[in-house]
């Protein structure tokens, strides 16, 4: 049995359904992420687990016990808030000791536990400071230490890194991964940032309009999106749609408007049914002349525009019939910063296993 079970939970605000019949099973020790655009219901779901909101339908079960009639202060889960929510009138130590005082921990044990928590988040020596004397990253760590000090079974993190700048965010991501490994506590993490979700999580639940679109490991979410929404939301993706015109030996052929017949691996396909192929930009090869080794999925086009991003360049290639396809090339070859210029005629190609077939 999973540590945290969300069973058919629905939450409505008036006529708006924020969370729509969501079921999830989160295992002990897991780093689990709820990922979705703003308004998809992920924060509402988190607040229901914390107890700040109650489901209209369904149950939330922690360690075999239904949490329904427990107010937030009586739930063993802890939350790290996006705004940190540190008590400004208490020192770092005072903040971290707060939940210990609330749980009636013996006063003699508190200093050692606070010191341990400070060590966990690498803030030794900051105990006597007040929150307004800390940087954003330090505040975030105090918030995490405060939530972890009582060793809760589940830690809920609501976009905890959203307020930090990009560089610090990356550092904190690595620290979060290490910290989670070290303390072994189940993390339920809410974010709208797909790279963050991919980098941090053991498993990701992609949410859209209150529903779960897909629950999977990051590499499967990225490589094998199950729905158009997931394919589109996670990373960049070319979605090539059209009716299935042929299916044999595990390869489906779609007639994509503006492009032509596109072949992709598919476990099953119905001829005539509409379908899509999700194709990551980095899976497309572009070259000045057609490569010799493949006859599949070869299309001619011209570079319409390009985005030079340092490590990679994104090319938007326009086919003669007006369809745009995004291709991404690493700038790893020495001596050249860019491979093509706008207006260059190029050949695009990809093998049938590069795209991911999505039946509609």
């Amino acid at each position: 049995m999973a540590l945290l079970e969300i069973q058919g939970v629905t939450r409505r605000f008036g006529t708006f359904t924020a969370v729509d019949n969501v079921s999830l099973a989160i295992e002990a020790g897991e780093f689990f992420t709820l990922l979705g655009p703003s308004g998809c219901g992920k924060t509402t779901l988190l607040r229901m687990v914390a107890g700040f909101d109650l489901p209209d339908e369904g149950r939330i079960v922690l360690d075999g016990r239904d949490l329904a009639d427990r107010p937030p202060e009586a739930r063993p889960v802890r939350t790290v808030f996006q705004s940190y929510a540190l008590f400004p009138h208490m020192t770092v130590e005072g903040n971290i000791a707060f939940p210990l005082h609330m749980s009636g921990t013996a006063a003699s044990e508190i200093p050692a536990k606070v010191a341990e928590a400070l060590e966990d988040v690498r803030l030794v020596g900051f105990g006597k400071r007040y929150p307004n004397e800390l940087s954003g990253g330090q505040k975030q760590r105090v918030a995490i230490a405060r939530a972890l000090v009582t060793h809760p079974p589940v830690l809920l993190l609501d976009e905890p890194l959203a307020a930090l700048d990009a560089k610090l965010r990356e550092e904190m991501q690595i620290e979060l991964i290490n910290l989670q490994k070290q303390v072994g506590i189940t993390f339920v993490y809410v974010t709208h940032d797909q790279t963050e979700a991919l980098a941090l999580s053991h498993r990701i639940a992609v949410m859209n309009r209150g529903r779960i679109e897909q629950v999977d490991e990051p590499s499967r979410i990225y490589g094998f999106p199950r729905t158009r929404f997931v394919a589109d939301f996670i990373g960049h993706c070319n979605l090539l749609s059209g009716p299935v015109t042929a299916y044999s030996a595990g390869v489906a052929t779609l007639d994509v408007a503006g492009l032509g017949p596109v072949r992709a691996l598919a476990s099953s396909a119905t001829i005539g049914a509409p379908a899509s192929i999700a194709l990551r930009p980095e899976k497309i090869r572009i070259s000045t002349s057609a490569p010799a080794d493949t006859a599949d999925n070869l299309f001619r086009g011209t570079v319409h525009d390009l985005l030079y991003m340092g490590d990679v360049t994104v090319y938007r290639v326009k086919t003669p019939r007006g369809t745009q396809v995004e291709a991404l090339l690493a700038n790893s070859q020495s001596g050249r910063a860019k491979f093509f210029e706008a207006g260059d005629a190029v050949e695009m190609s990809w093998s049938p296993d590069a795209g991911h077939f999505l039946a509609e």
Partner: protein, 301 residues
């Protein structure tokens, strides 16, 4: 450097008139009063000549000695501090829930509720004090009701009017808005996320109040306490109108010295004592307030 000269000129143009006003109408009178407290009363009131016919300068400690040697004056001073303290405490206890209620009510009602708090200011102070005379009068429902209940317990009837009770009730009534407003201004700014965090970390409603809301509201409490305590300490109209003979406070004493006894030097001594006490207490509150706010972290009035 021309710019900085112009800036200086602008600064003095703006701050000069109020500064001058304070010098003429506050600093100078205070100095006159300090000086008066060391002089002798005149034969027919006021002050004796500063330099008499014999050329002797009139400067002495007699009025100050009188304050410290005749215990009745110090007793009245202590009683005034006590009344002001009680007023402050009652105001705090009544104003806190009210301010919290307003701060947590929907935004569109807040201005209306605040308006209701300051509504009494629209009528004259003395009229409001006289109104209490009617409310507490012996033939009114309140006094009759109280005495009827007392009679059930075999207690003799008590007068509500012309008593310490009447003075305190009116002191609290008059000063309540001065406590509500700074408390509201503070509580209104509190971040709900802090209370959510406290609850999430295991704090029940009482703990959330006592450990988060109340300590964060201390700057508001101190501001309100100062705004109530200091005027309550010097008040004379309320004990004059609603008090009994025992309810003479230092404000009444000062008024007596200047208007009835016409002993200006002693009146000045009493005024100085009152001023020094008020300033000392305000400084003390400010010091505690700073320390309570924690490392200068959150000074939100």
């Amino acid at each position: 450097m021309a710019a900085s000269k112009r800036e200086r000129l602008a600064k003095w143009t703006v701050s000069g008139p109020p500064l001058l006003y304070l010098l003429v109408f506050f600093a100078a009178p205070t100095l006159i009063m300090v000086l008066a407290s060391f002089r002798s009363p005149g034969e027919f009131g006021g002050l004796a000549p500063f330099v008499d016919e014999a050329g002797k300068v009139d400067l002495n400690l007699e009025s100050w000695a009188r304050f410290f040697t005749e215990p009745v004056f110090f007793e009245i001073f202590v009683k005034s501090v006590w009344y002001a303290t009680l007023t402050t405490l009652f105001c705090l206890v009544l104003a806190y829930p009210l301010a919290a209620l307003i701060a947590r009510s929907p935004r569109r009602y807040r201005d209306l509720l605040l308006l209701l708090v300051i509504l009494p200011f629209w009528s004259n102070f003395l009229i409001r004090v006289y109104a209490w005379m009617i409310i507490l009068g012996p033939n009114q429902a309140l006094a009759r009701g109280v005495n009827a209940v007392l009679a059930l317990f075999g207690h003799a009837p008590v007068p509500l009017l012309f008593s310490s009770f009447a003075v305190l009730v009116c002191l609290v009534y008059v000063h309540l808005p001065f406590m509500v407003l700074p408390l509201y201004a503070n509580l209104e700014k509190h971040d709900q996320a802090l209370l959510d965090a406290a609850q999430d970390l295991g704090a029940n409603a009482w703990q959330r109040f006592w450990r988060v809301t109340f300590p964060l509201s201390l700057p508001g409490v101190y501001a309100g306490a100062a705004l109530v305590f200091i005027p309550a300490l010097g008040i004379f109209a309320i004990p004059d109108i609603l008090g009994g003979p025992e309810d003479t406070l230092i404000g009444n004493l000062i008024k007596q010295q200047f208007l009835e006894t016409r002993d200006w030097p002693f009146g000045s001594v009493l005024s100085m004592v009152l001023t020094i006490a008020a300033v000392a207490l305000a400084a003390l509150a400010a010091t505690i307030g700073r320390r309570g706010a924690g490392g200068g972290g959150v000074v939100r009035a």
